[in-house]
């Protein structure tokens, strides 16, 4: 079986004192063995919530994964796993790294100990075996002098090193899926590049499937096989990296792509920025969620939710512009200046 993860109609809500926040609204996707899938979108569009749901790491008190949602790991529904099964699944079959390496490691435990812990739990290794294995993993993530770093505390390491330790913890048990939630956002630019390179190398070496959550399209370009653009808790466009970068169809994707700063050739030109913010997720959405910010918004966009259209077998878009009766438009960056910038 090629599909190792299949998410069907995932809906997640947060119950807060102001009301029910519907953070993820019917997300479906699948992940194949060894593939890298990126979730791209602005802050607050449900990327991280979707990612955490896969490991059932959402806060149990406020978050609720709605009935009817399904997360199938190799055919087994993660949402119905018992505590024991869930613990064997976490870290061993699917593991996760987080945004901020400065706070994601336990400050009172040595780095080595934090890796050993996972190994002893899942691989049933003895202390010595686990230590040897942990040092190997530290080597794998290219930490210089791994024997010494094994007994270092997190505060003795730099941010980049800590993120490497996080990756080492996550990969120590050879999971089939690694979820990387904004793995480079908290790091400075040169370190970001190193971490991306490392992830790329590891994915080729170990064949681990990666779910990459990010708002940085630069990160996506080098790593992802497929990209899923998310907006207001929904997937608005999904396709291979090539399709998203070279033949994007959704105006939101266009906006995201043109907000990436280019190098010298366009440096005189003002960088495009998408105005406004994503919709409040407390509201019910009956129309296209992007309508309010869309430069191509039509009457129908404000009345009805667009259907998902297949552009190719791998490329899907949820946009009324795909409708046969819709006017044929080109992305604004191909027309020169956009409306937004003329205004």
């Amino acid at each position: 079986m090629d599909k190792i993860l299949e998410v069907k109609n995932l809906r997640v809500s947060f119950n807060t004192y102001v009301g029910e926040i519907r953070a993820v609204r019917g997300v479906s996707f699948e992940l194949r063995r060894g593939e890298t899938l990126a979730f791209v979108g602005e802050s607050g569009c449900g990327k991280t919530v979707t990612a955490k749901s896969i490991l059932r790491l959402l806060p149990p008190v406020s978050a609720e994964i709605k009935a009817g949602s399904e997360i199938l790991y190799k055919g087994e529904n993660v949402l119905q796993m018992g505590q024991k099964r869930l613990q064997r699944y976490r870290g061993n079959e699917v593991s996760m790294i987080f945004q901020d390496p400065m706070t994601s490691l336990n400050p009172t435990m040595t780095c080595g100990q934090q890796i050993v812990e996972a190994l002893m739990l899942h691989k049933k290794l003895s202390k010595q075996e686990a230590k040897a294995e942990a040092i190997k993993t530290l080597e794998l993530v290219k930490i210089p002098d791994p024997e010494k770093r094994f007994s270092a505390y997190p505060h003795e390491l730099s941010g980049g090193m800590r993120q490497r330790v996080m990756i080492a913890i996550a990969l120590s048990c050879q999971p089939s899926i690694l979820i990387a939630d904004e793995p480079t956002t908290a790091l400075d630019v040169t370190i970001q590049a190193q971490i991306i390179d490392l992830l790329k190398e590891l994915k080729e070496k170990l064949g681990t499937a990666i779910i990459l959550v990010t708002h940085d399209l630069g990160v996506v370009a080098t790593l992802a096989d497929r990209i899923q653009v998310m907006y207001a808790g929904q997937i608005v466009e999904t396709g291979t990296a090539r399709e998203i970068f070279y033949e994007p169809q959704h105006p939101y994707t266009w906006a995201l792509l043109s907000s990436v700063p280019g190098l010298a050739e366009r440096s005189k030109q003002e960088l495009y920025s998408l105005k406004g913010t994503p919709p409040d997720l407390i509201m019910p959405l009956e129309c296209c969620p992007f309508a309010a910010r869309c430069e191509y918004c039509m009457k129908v966009c404000r009345q009805q939710m667009p259907q998902v259209t297949n552009v190719t077998a791998t490329h899907n878009v949820a946009c009324w512009l795909q409708h046969p009766h819709a006017p044929k438009v080109k992305p604004f960056y191909e027309r020169g200046l956009s409306h937004a910038q003329q205004a």
Partner: protein, 310 residues
């Protein structure tokens, strides 16, 4: 590390010096003296002899110098009230009793308090949390003597399970220990709950969960140690409280500990006894502080002292 230790011990000596000096002069500013009560009926000459014997006839500052000189030699003097009973011996004899009762109480309070704190944190805003917080509020607001009398009344008088007071058998220990552990239970539970809640919202707890650790391991291995710092802070006061907090309780239950003697020596203006015990408490407090600083370093590697590179 060594430099740090020497510095700390130096501070400790200065602290002790100040405590002794202040206590000495404060004590003398209270009207009366240890002999005034008993020596009232004595003939003038005998009384003068007694005052001379204890050096109480000399100027105050000379007495102070004498006391300090003896203190430096480790001599705390002899009780004025009970001739022949040396202060050091009394402390040596009574403090282990206080230490035993208070130590057991503190240990029990620590274990129960921490456990209750964890339970409260994990059940935030549900009935176990409310129950623990109710107990904690009781523990901090009810004075020990009220709690002690209630226990004596119900457990000893009404039910007849345990003796209301006395010393010599293990069952005499039960009630004072229960009373003395109530305070620590309350404060440890309260502090641990809030610091545990804070720890549980940290990112590394999510990392631990993502590793596949059970709830139990997440709490015990990751959350607990990181929640212990505020507990260690209040532990210093509590260690001393093992001895001092027991004044009233020892009196009420007839435990012949150091608190028992401290109170009676204050009542009788027994100068040497008061000073001796105060020095003992002060030393204990200073040592407890040192221990706590050391425990900080054990609990949190970030606090460990880095040798100065100069």
């Amino acid at each position: 590390m060594l430099r740090y230790a020497i510095k700390r011990i130096g501070y400790a000596v200065v602290t002790l010096f100040i405590v002794v000096t202040v206590t000495f002069f404060l004590m003398r500013s209270i009207p009366g003296d240890p002999l005034s009560h008993m020596a009232r009926a004595l003939p003038e000459q005998t009384r003068a002899n007694y005052y001379a014997k204890y050096g109480l006839d000399k100027p105050l500052f000379t007495q102070y110098l004498m006391y300090m000189k003896n203190l430096l030699r480790g001599d705390l003097g002899e009780s004025v009230l009970y001739p022949g009973r040396s202060v050091s011996e009394t402390i040596a004899k009574t403090s282990p009793i206080s230490g035993l009762v208070g130590g057991i109480a503190l240990a029990i309070g620590f274990v129960i308090g921490i456990t209750l704190g964890i339970i409260a944190a994990l059940n935030k805003n549900r009935w176990p949390d409310y129950l623990v917080m109710f107990v904690a509020i009781l523990g901090t607001t009810i004075p020990v003597f009220v709690f002690a009398s209630l226990l004596q009344y119900f457990v000893s008088v009404k039910l007849g399970w345990l003796p209301p007071s006395g010393w010599g058998q293990p069952r005499h220990l039960v009630l004072p220990i229960i009373v003395l552990s109530f305070g620590p239970v309350a404060s440890f539970a309260r502090y641990l709950k809030s610091s545990m809640l804070d720890t549980l919202s940290q990112d590394y707890i999510l990392t631990a969960q993502a590793k596949g650790l059970s709830q139990r391991d997440v709490i015990l291995r990751h959350a607990l140690r990181n929640s212990m710092l505020p507990i260690v802070t209040i532990l210093a006061g509590r260690i001393v409280g093992v001895f001092t907090g027991a004044f009233v309780v020892e009196r009420m239950f007839g435990v012949p500990g150091i608190g028992f003697y401290y109170i009676s020596s204050i009542n009788n203006n027994d100068y040497t006894m008061i000073l001796g015990t105060t020095v003992f408490y002060a030393a204990l407090f200073v040592i407890a502080q040192l221990v706590v600083d050391f425990v900080y370093m054990l609990v949190d590697p970030r606090i460990r002292i880095v040798p100065e590179s100069r």
